[in-house]
Each structure stands twice: as C-alpha cells, then as structure tokens.
Symmetry: C2
Subunit: 154 residues, 2 copies
DNA sequence: GAATAATTGTTTACCCTCGTAACAAACTGC
DNA sequence: GCAGTTTGTTACGAGGGTAAACAATTATTC
C-alpha cells in the first residue's frame, strides 16, 4: 500500500469531490434532465412519465406491477403516472380475461404518436447537450453507463 | 439523409429508451446514489450535505451564496443544509469584519474529521459499485462525465 | 374444498429535495 | 442621500419517491 514519497504528494488521500464518479454523475444527470424538461416544453412529459409511456409502447399489455418493476419504482408510485397518461387518453387500462386483479396497459393511437414526437424531441435534445462529443465518445459513454447498471446488486 | 433499404431496418427511428444516454445516466445515478446512502449508514450524510461539507473543507471561509452557486442550488435551499451541519458542530457560521451581511463558513475540527471519514467511506463505496470496471474504464467514464458538465449552457 | 398465503392495484400519509417569492438588513455607486 | 444590489432567511408549494394498510383476487397447501 505504501508508495514513494514523490507519489504521496498527489495521492495522500486528498481526494476531491471532483474526482468522485458519483459526484460527476449527479452533476451531469442534472444538466441532461434539465435540458430534457426544456426540450419537452410547457405541457410536455416529465422524465418518468415519458419512461412509462415508452415502456408501454414497447411492451403493450404490460402489467402495472411489471412496469413499476421495470422502472425501478414502487407500484404505488406508478398509479399517478398511469392516471396522468390515461387522463390524456395516451394509454388505457384494460382488464385481462384470465386474472381480474391486473390492469394491462395498452397505448392508444394518440399515445403512440405522442411517444414518437416526444422521442424525436429527446433525440434532438441529446444531439444538443452532447454536441461537444464525437459519436465514438457518446457510444463509449453509453457503454460505460450500461456497465454501471449491469453491476447493480438489487 | 435517405439510406439504403438494408440500413433502414435498424435505423428507422425505432430508438429505444435504452439507447438514450440520458436514460442510462439516470439509472446509473440512481444506483450510485442509493449505494452512497447505504454506505453512509443511518445517521450519515445525504449527498447534498456531504457536498456542502466537502466544499467548506476545501474552501474555508466560503460565503453561503458562493457555496450555493458552486453547488448549483438556490441560496434558500442551502440554509437548511448549513443549519444541519452547524447543529452537529461540523462547521460554524462566522461573521466577517468587512461585510455584516455575509456568513463565512468554517469547518470545525470535528467537521474536518467527519469529512475525512465520510470521504473514505465514499471511496470504498465507489470501489464497490464500479467493481466490474477496470481503472482505465473508470477514468474514461470520469473524463466523459466531465466533458458533459463542461458543455453546460447555463 | 377450506384455509392460508401471495399478488395486484389503490389510497393515504409522510419524507426529501428543490424552486419561487417575499423580506429585512447591509452594502455599493453615484 | 438614494436607488439598486447582495446576503441570508422564511414561508409555501411542486415534484418524486417510499412505506403501510387495504380489499379484491388468485395460488398454494393440507
């Protein structure tokens, strides 16, 4: 563990906040999220509502419990999100024949279109906030973030 | 813009949530933050309180306004954070001779020690949550996140 | 087949983080 | 001296999230 005196000067436990990945992750996330909200505009989607719609489009007839699990939030928290999307007629709660407990979520035509439009807007926004990075750098960042997620314990 | 039919199959606007940097950034941040709280334990620091203490240690006699600016939050939000740290006697609000408005923040001896201990814990936690990445990968991720922050418009 | 356990959606209550608006006190520029 | 600005502070509300309890329904176990 002990190192040369010369190295100690720059390695003597004087870790800075700026050297922590977690700190930089947080600050970067705040920037991107803030840009996301601006890109979505006034009546636009919040990140979590957009995520819920996106997953419902990708996995039609998904259960609320399954969607909550996929989003990493509690079932109780998802209720308001689905309420909001249903009130805008972007998806519907459908009963399934076999199990009278579950609510299968199905996107409406308007929901599909709203998702497409929002996704286009998000892609344009990402083009913008990462404009100082090359395509290979963006891909590298994406891969590294996926690797972080892959290591999740839960 | 138009591409060959062969390419269109994999590039026809069917962007997935998982392909968005922002989405992966959020999920990765949630994992790291959650680990941070676990690592700090019951009476430990929240991320923002830790950040405030760290910056006070690094920049003693910093003004509350300057600290808020550095943290990217409003002055009003910092009051409760400083209150908490002051109530634990980890820092003190000191009046400065020249300007009777400002409160210069100075870490106490206990504050310095608490910071050192918390930082050690955070470093151990980062060692853990990024354990499936090589040192060079971690450095790459750090550099890329810094580049994202560097492009901030605000 | 009856009893027990688990799952689903929901409501309610609560916590944390943050922003906005207003304010008094103090400072600055002119 | 006076308008404008800065500093710390309070009050209020929005937003995102968890935890606990609950009825309805389904699964499991004996």
């Amino acid at each position: 563990m002990s190192k040369h005196a010369l190295e100690e000067a720059s390695d003597n436990g004087a870790t800075d906040l700026e050297d922590l990945i977690g700190y930089n992750l947080k600050r970067a996330y705040i920037i991107v999220q803030s840009g996301f909200r601006d890109a979505q505009g006034e009546g636009g989607f919040s990140p979590r509502v957009f995520t819920a719609l996106a997953l419902t489009v990708k996995f039609p007839n998904i259960t609320q419990s399954a969607l909550a699990r996929k989003m990493g939030i509690e079932r109780s928290g998802l209720v308001a999100i689905v309420d909001e999307l249903e009130s805008k007629a972007l998806l519907a709660r459908a009963r399934v024949p076999g199990d009278r407990r579950v609510q299968a979520l199905v996107p409406t035509e308007a929901g599909q279109q709203a998702y497409d439009a929002a996704m286009a807007s998000v892609r344009a926004h990402e083009q913008d906030v990462f404009s100082n990075m090359s395509e290979s750098e963006k891909k590298m960042l994406l891969d590294l973030l996926r690797k972080v997620r892959k290591n999740e314990v839960s």
